[in-house]
């Protein structure tokens, strides 16, 4: 057999029913390669699953929040001493006056439900989020007619009580915790049995602005999501047209000489520049020199545009290069101008590649943190930015910066918030990638 296959200068000698040594070796090599490939893919999938599981385990609970239903007596004597129901006059009453109302309401609600509470006033106070007091005050100021009535309100439970129902706080840990006592937990459990306390989907997490260090239960992503969306709009509106125009010029029109080589090398270099450098650039140019406001999505968007441009240019040029030259010849040969041949034939063919590059660039920009820290987007922002275009100049934060910010805080409840924010960020990325796939399909179907 070996004699027949070695060195007699002819391939494929011998019976076809028996695989010769060389074929067997080739097949073995192929099998080995398949196993390596499967192994590599498995490692990737395992890493992804571990990542997703750990993020979900940490963050999923951020989407649920514990609230208590309280019937609050809005005592007119205390909330509206002047008796005019004039919001301007009532604005003089601080949250300090509202807190006892909530507490008294809670005590009355507990008594009405027939629950025996062994906790004092302070302990009752502590079970309600400080945020809820401010919320109640805003609600009353907006609806002065409510004063004098007893209204049912759904208030946020404090972070520790919320943590108890998510398994973060236990009776054992409460013994050691100065912020919560086992008695409070017991009361919370009874409230839940009486269906006065419940844990439901946490819309506020997606809509509310950030909460202060002591109010993790009130912290939300509203401002960060808006800020990120604003910046993505700016990046898309600037980087896509500029990047595509630059690539078309470089690829289709520019003479191939030393200058285009220099530009090409520099664009590739730019893509590799660490993002923090872009942050320093943005600080120096957009804020210090051009005088744009700090912490504003416009500055963040401009910095991220600079970062995203090289990615889009490189992807677009690769996509344009991949279009066969014969297509250009065909168009030119029919008397189309260069511009027509590019716009009618080359660009549509390159579109899927351009879209992929753009989405990759946007995804990078969405997750970018370092340059935003430098331009002050890490600030604590409670006010929603206005609608664009004015809102582009209002202070805002961004999703990744918010995540970074929350991981820096002392209260462990913020770890959960950060995990939840990561999930939101990943969902955004998923949505963008699905959009890319959808657009790619649509463009591909045209030819």
């Amino acid at each position: 057999m070996t004699d027949a296959t070695r060195g007699n200068g002819r391939a494929g000698q011998g019976s076809l029913l028996v695989s010769d040594a060389r074929t067997a070796r080739r097949n073995a090599a192929e099998r080995r390669f398949r196993i390596y490939g499967l192994l590599a893919v498995s490692i990737g999938i395992v890493a992804l699953v571990v990542l997703l599981v750990s993020i979900l385990a940490n963050g999923a609970s951020a989407f649920r929040q514990t609230t208590i239903r309280i019937d609050v007596p809005l005592d007119a004597a205390r909330l509206d001493p002047s008796g005019t129901r004039d919001p301007a006059a009532m604005a003089g009453v601080t949250t300090f006056r509202y807190a006892p109302l909530l507490r008294e309401g809670l005590a009355a609600t507990i008594a009405a439900a027939g629950i025996e509470a062994e906790v004092d006033d302070r302990a009752l106070d502590e079970m309600i989020s400080d945020e809820s007091v401010a919320q109640l005050r805003r609600h009353v100021l907006a609806n002065p007619d409510l004063v004098g009535q007893t209204v049912p309100v759904e208030v946020l439970a404090s972070g520790r009580i919320d943590g108890f129902f998510k398994g973060r706080v236990t009776y054992a840990s409460a013994e050691l915790d100065s912020n919560v006592t086992p008695e409070q937990l017991r009361l919370a459990e009874e409230l839940r049995n009486a269906e006065l306390l419940r844990t439901g989907f946490n819309w506020r997490f997606l809509t509310a602005p950030d909460g202060s260090d002591t109010r993790p239960e009130a912290a939300g992503l509203g401002v960060a999501i808006l800020g990120s969306i604003y910046m993505m709009l700016i990046v898309l509106a600037l980087a896509l047209p500029i990047g595509v125009a630059a690539s078309i010029y470089l690829e289709e029109f520019a003479p191939q000489n030393r200058w285009t080589d220099v530009i090409e090398v520099n664009i590739s270099n730019l893509a590799a520049v660490p993002s923090i450098v872009f942050g320093i650039l943005g600080l120096a140019i957009f804020i210090n020199f051009m005088g744009l406001p700090q912490s504003a999505p416009i500055v963040g968007g401009l910095v991220l545009t600079l970062m995203t441009l090289p990615t889009i240019i490189i992807a677009t040029r690769a996509a344009l290069k991949a279009v066969p030259p014969s297509i250009r010849d065909a168009a030119l040969g029919l008397g189309a101008s260069k511009m027509q041949s590019v716009l009618h034939h080359v660009l549509p063919l390159a579109m899927p590649g351009i879209l992929t590059g753009t989405i990759i660039g946007l995804a990078q920009a969405l997750g970018e943190t370092a340059p935003l820290l430098l331009i002050g987007m890490v600030a604590f922002v409670r006010e929603y930015p206005d609608a664009p275009p004015d809102g582009f100049f209002d202070p805002a934060t961004a999703l990744p910066v918010q995540i970074y910010n929350w991981t820096q805080r002392a209260d462990p409840a913020f770890v959960e918030r950060a995990g939840g924010a990561i999930i939101v960020l990943l969902l955004f990325l998923l949505a963008m990638n699905l959009t890319a796939i959808f657009l790619r399909r649509r463009f591909e179907r045209r030819w």
């Binding site: 250009r328 008397g335 027509q340 030819w447």
Partner: protein, 261 residues
């Protein structure tokens, strides 16, 4: 040698004098002078790599798109120097159509492939007019019967020979004055070849057609004049009948009889 291409009979549509083409350091066309008359079919024959396509691409300035290519000499169409600075190659190419050696349909529908030229040049008054142009172009390229029910399907989905005819239809649809065809029948069966040859014969009523072919029989069948290229030189040019019966140059003779390949 460079005066073999000159004629003093029919009025010349295309006149070339002392044309040299360089691809970087490669000298691909060496001092070619030729007069191509109107209303005739001129065949370019010669061994592979001798520069037939290169010379053809000089006539509609497609060599402009190759960065390393450099064209010297003088080429005139109707007495106008097409390499003059004032000439817009885009306008020239609307006048001088081309069918490329490799079929290159657009990755669009069959209809859009043919309609593209008329559209960008504004040749059709309305949709019905455009439909008419597309149909007659496809009929002339002997493709209509095969594709009339699937005009909306991509042109790239056709077979190689069908794509070649689609490219012919596309070039014909813009109604050029000169049609350059680089091996338009290389992938066609004898029946389709006969149909395309019929088209070429018909086209010469109104156009000047230049066709590159590797088939001696085809050159003999369709052309009135034949040019033999060898290693970048135009070796011999004249009446097709004379070239094939009594070639003057020994190289022509050995090529025709199959000794140079």
């Amino acid at each position: 040698m460079n005066d073999t291409g000159l004629t003093d009979t029919a009025p010349a549509k295309i006149t070339a004098r002392g044309v040299q083409v360089y691809y970087g350091g490669t000298h691909a066309i060496k001092d070619v002078s030729v007069d191509i008359p109107d209303n005739t079919v001129t065949a370019f024959i010669g061994p592979s790599g001798c520069g037939k396509s290169t010379f053809l691409r000089c006539i509609n300035r497609m060599n402009d798109t190759i960065a390393v290519a450099r064209v010297e000499g003088d080429i005139r169409i109707d007495g106008e120097d097409i390499y003059d600075r004032r000439v817009d190659p885009v306008q020239l190419r609307a006048k001088v159509g081309m069918v490329f050696q490799k079929p290159n349909p657009f990755p669009k529908s069959i209809y859009d492939n043919v309609a593209y030229g008329p559209r960008i040049h504004g040749l059709a008054k309305d949709r019905a007019d455009l439909d008419g142009i597309v149909e007659s172009a496809l009929r002339r390229a002997a493709l209509w019967e095969e594709v009339k029910d699937r005009l909306a399907q991509p042109g790239t989905g056709l077979s190689g020979g069908q794509q070649q005819r689609l490219c012919i239809a596309r070039a014909v649809a813009t109604a050029p004055e000169v049609l350059l065809m680089d091996e338009p029948c290389s992938a066609l069966d004898p029946i389709a070849t006969a149909q395309v040859e019929e088209l070429i014969d018909e086209l010469k009523q109104n156009y000047s057609v230049v066709i590159v072919t590797h088939s001696m029989q085809q050159a003999a069948r369709v052309s009135q004049r034949t040019a033999f290229f060898h290693l970048g030189h135009l070796v011999e040019y004249g009446e097709t009948g004379r070239i094939f019966t009594s070639p003057e140059d020994p190289r022509t003779e050995s090529y025709i009889s199959g000794r140079i390949g």
